[in-house]
């Protein structure tokens, strides 16, 4: 591992009257599997969406592969592969066409698209579905197709929001193997997950995010030390201890807006 490939510095984001991120700092190193964990509404998906450029931050700096994403909102995207939490794909394309589309819009040469398509269709056991329209795939297969599309351009960093939801245990095992192979090849994996046991076994380092702020990060040893728990404590125990300790008022309370309402029926 050498140097940071993704850096978030003092990132703030508010929407729908909620302060989703409050000065988040994060550093993901090259060649590691990095896990982002946190309770519901902690800001994990918001942070990921800001990194991949589909949500704008209110304040802060984000660097991906040395590029400041605000200054250069296009070029850095060639370095990333992204799979969202809810996978929605162009249903009218076949799996093969979808991978071709994914490669073409990322400027991948046609010979490489063909090679990569064959490789990932085999790796994700989608060969039989090559000519099937995505509309007819199961949820797990769509998830696999989305992962294949995120890998088609051989990105330096793969960013996955809840990657294991909807995939069967055998599929999950294959995906984890693939992650390890990529890390061995010097690539980076960044996942957000609720599956703490998976994060503990799979990730080199983990960051815990709570109410839009990073409350701890590091490898298991560091996290145990930070949480002042014993040598054999699990990530789940560390997570619970650290998030309970972090329960404190917001440094900046979001403005209390009265929700917009045209009709007020009933007694309230």
């Amino acid at each position: 591992m050498s140097g940071a490939i993704v850096q978030l510095m003092n990132v703030w984001k508010a929407y729908d009257g909620v302060q989703a991120l409050q000065g988040l700092d994060l550093e993901i190193l090259r060649g590691e599997i990095f896990g982002l964990i946190g309770p519901n509404g902690a800001g994990k998906t918001t942070a990921i969406k800001i990194i991949v450029g589909i949500l704008k931050m209110d304040k802060g700096i984000v660097r991906v592969g040395g590029h400041n994403i605000t200054d250069n909102p296009y070029e850095y995207k060639r370095l990333i592969g992204y799979v969202p939490e809810v996978v929605s794909l162009p249903d009218y394309l076949t799996v093969e066409e979808f991978l071709t589309y994914s490669g073409k819009i990322r400027g991948v040469p046609s010979s490489m698209i063909r090679e990569q398509t064959d490789f990932y269709l085999k790796a994700f056991e989608l060969e039989e579905k090559r000519k099937t329209m995505i509309f007819f795939l199961s949820r797990g297969m769509k998830q696999k197709a989305a992962m294949a599309s995120a890998l088609i351009h051989d990105p330096d960093i793969l960013i996955l929001d809840e990657p294991f939801i909807g995939i069967d245990p055998a599929g999950q095992y294959k995906v984890k193997e693939l992650f390890n192979e990529r890390v061995r090849a010097g690539k980076t994996i960044f996942i957000s997950t609720h599956m703490l046991d998976t994060a503990e076994r799979l990730c080199n380092r983990v960051a815990i995010i709570y109410r839009g702020r990073g409350i701890a990060s590091g490898n298991m040893e560091n996290l145990r030390r930070l949480s002042k728990t014993g040598e054999n404590t699990t990530l789940e125990e560390v997570f619970l201890k650290l998030t309970q300790e972090a329960v404190q008022p917001y440094p900046e309370e979001p403005p209390k807006k009265r929700p917009f309402s045209l009709f007020r029926f009933g007694g309230r």
Binding site: S88, Y92, L93, E97, T100, F135, S261, F265
Partner: protein, 513 residues
């Protein structure tokens, strides 16, 4: 009754949910409402002019008006084939509560009426203008109002009763009866086009009674007989409704996604598009995308074309223009002048871009994260979408115009320029407005209101085109003058297209998902 009122309030809150959710939705509704006003005023003014010509002239309209009302009634009847439908949330949270079917039905009927009034606000406004302009007596206004009310309840009761029985009783019997009713209801409408001796005016149909009540009230005459006739129909249906609403249809109800003019989810449309994909996948899979395309724009255009083949956009457009061809053939055989078919063509070509862009939105909205995170220039994406849409929106009617004008020896220049301009401006304006409302900031904006705003902008930008077509028709311009004006319109349309496609690519940059 308290429970019915509570249920009604909840249904209203759900149906108008998006209006409560954001100021943008409210603004869009105001645009819709204000945009409808000129149409309402125009419609009522022309109605006033017609009505002032004389009562004898008026009676001729009973058949036409009854046919239009019968058409709407037939649509309501067709919807009963698939049984009683409830929204998915209702099946989980309402039908499992201790309420009886009649309480549910009453609340449903009341909420449907509120939605109707809200959505078709143009009708009461037009009638009010007509009533004032024609100085109608209070009695006439009241008769007209209550006739409407009786008829709406009549159709509601009929729809509910048939849906309930269709849900409870399996088999084809009820469908045959419903189909027979629809045929009997619509048969006299054929008399408007073909030499048939059956006319609405001579039949005791509820639609005839309503048409008479409206037209006679508008001429300040009392229509006691027609009103009583409508009342009798209403009483008969009330009895049937009271019997059918005793049946427990809850276990047989058919759940559907939420549907309302203020709907934001577009789930219903997504389901329909899904069905189209199943149908067209067999045809569409003969063509395929391959990575060898040298230019990204050409590749994206092919992908867009595949989408239009596989999601049914192309087929729907073809079908629309095939129907238009039949209408035009039929009307020209009966000696209809050029402006009539040109007006129909104008309406069609105006609606097609909006329909195509809506389908694009339904299919592509959720997978927009792919191009947005890919790092490619969004100019290419916007161009690919627009070039394909314009190609479809222009090529199909152009083929139709070419065939029709050659066959009838009419100068094709003006209709072709008209369709070119409408497809260029229509597609780019619709895509621009839709793009402005994509993303999480506007997720509470109702899709129907967005379409309306797109149509309004399109109409506004098309004003020069319409003026040109109108003047050309009215003053029968020479070929040279038509050619000069056509060049101007084409140049204007291209400029608008370029400007809006750039603005769309810029707007796409700020989409937040």
């Amino acid at each position: 009754m308290g429970l019915v009122i509570d249920l009604f309030k909840m249904k209203i809150k759900v149906l108008f949910g998006s209006l409560r959710a954001s100021k943008t939705s409210l603004l869009l509704f105001l645009v819709y409402f204000l945009g409808m006003l000129p149409a309402a005023i125009g419609l009522s003014m022309s109605a006033v002019e017609l009505l002032q010509r004389g009562v004898e002239f008026l009676s001729a309209y009973v058949d036409t008006l009854a046919a239009i009302i019968s058409g709407f009634m037939a649509l309501a009847l067709i919807s009963t084939y698939t049984g009683f439908k409830v929204f998915e949330y209702e099946q989980g949270f309402v039908l499992t509560a201790p309420i009886n079917p009649r309480q549910y039905l009453l609340a449903d009927l009341l909420s449907d009426m509120v939605v109707l009034i809200f959505f078709f606000n143009m009708v009461p406004i037009s009638l009010m203008i007509v009533a004032i302009r024609l100085a109608l007596s209070i009695t006439s206004i009241l008769v007209m109002f209550f006739s409407f009310l009786l008829f709406v309840f009549f159709v509601g009761f009929l729809k509910y009763s048939l849906s309930i029985y269709a849900s409870i009783y399996e088999g084809i019997g009820l469908k045959i009866v419903t189909s027979a009713v629809i045929v009997v209801l619509l048969l006299p409408a054929a008399g408007l086009f073909a030499p048939l001796s059956i006319r609405y005016g001579e039949l005791p149909y509820p639609t005839t009674f309503l048409a008479r009540c409206i037209l006679e009230s508008l001429s300040n005459r009392l229509c006691i007989g027609s009103f009583l006739g409508l009342g009798l129909h209403f009483m008969a249906l009330l009895a049937i409704f009271l019997a059918s609403s005793r049946r427990n249809f809850f276990p047989f109800a058919n759940p559907i996604p939420l549907m309302s003019p203020f709907d934001t989810s577009m789930r219903m449309q997504s389901i329909k598009v899904g069905k189209s994909m199943k149908t067209f996948s067999h045809i569409g899979l003969r063509m395929t995308l391959n990575p060898d395309s040298k230019s990204l724009l050409r590749f994206l255009m092919k992908k867009e074309f595949l989408r239009m083949v596989r999601d049914g956009s192309l087929f729907t457009t073809l079908l629309m223009y095939t129907i238009l061809s039949f209408i035009v053939m039929f009307s020209t055989e009966r000696g209809a002048p050029t402006p009539i078919w040109l007006s129909i063509l104008m309406v069609y070509s105006f609606m097609v871009p909006s329909m195509l862009i809506n389908l694009w939105r339904v299919v592509e909205m959720d997978s927009l994260w792919m191009p947005l995170t890919s790092g490619m220039s969004l100019d290419n994406l916007v161009k690919a979408i627009l070039y394909d849409l314009v190609m479809i929106a222009f090529a199909i009617p152009a083929a139709f115009i070419a065939a029709f004008t050659i066959f009838n020896r009419i100068d094709p220049l003006m209709p072709l320029v008209l369709v070119f301009s409408v497809s260029m401006i229509g597609c780019s304006a619709n895509l621009y407005v839709v793009t402005r409302f994509l993303g999480r900031k506007h997720r509470a904006a109702p899709w129907m209101m967005i379409s309306w705003a797109s149509l309004l902008l399109t109409a506004l930008l098309l004003t020069p085109t319409y003026i040109f077509s109108g003047l050309s028709l009215l003053w029968n311009f020479s070929l040279q003058l038509n050619a000069v004006l056509s060049t101007f319109i084409i140049a204007y349309s291209i400029l608008v297209f370029i400007y809006l496609s750039k603005a769309t690519a810029k707007a796409a940059l700020s989409i937040e998902i």
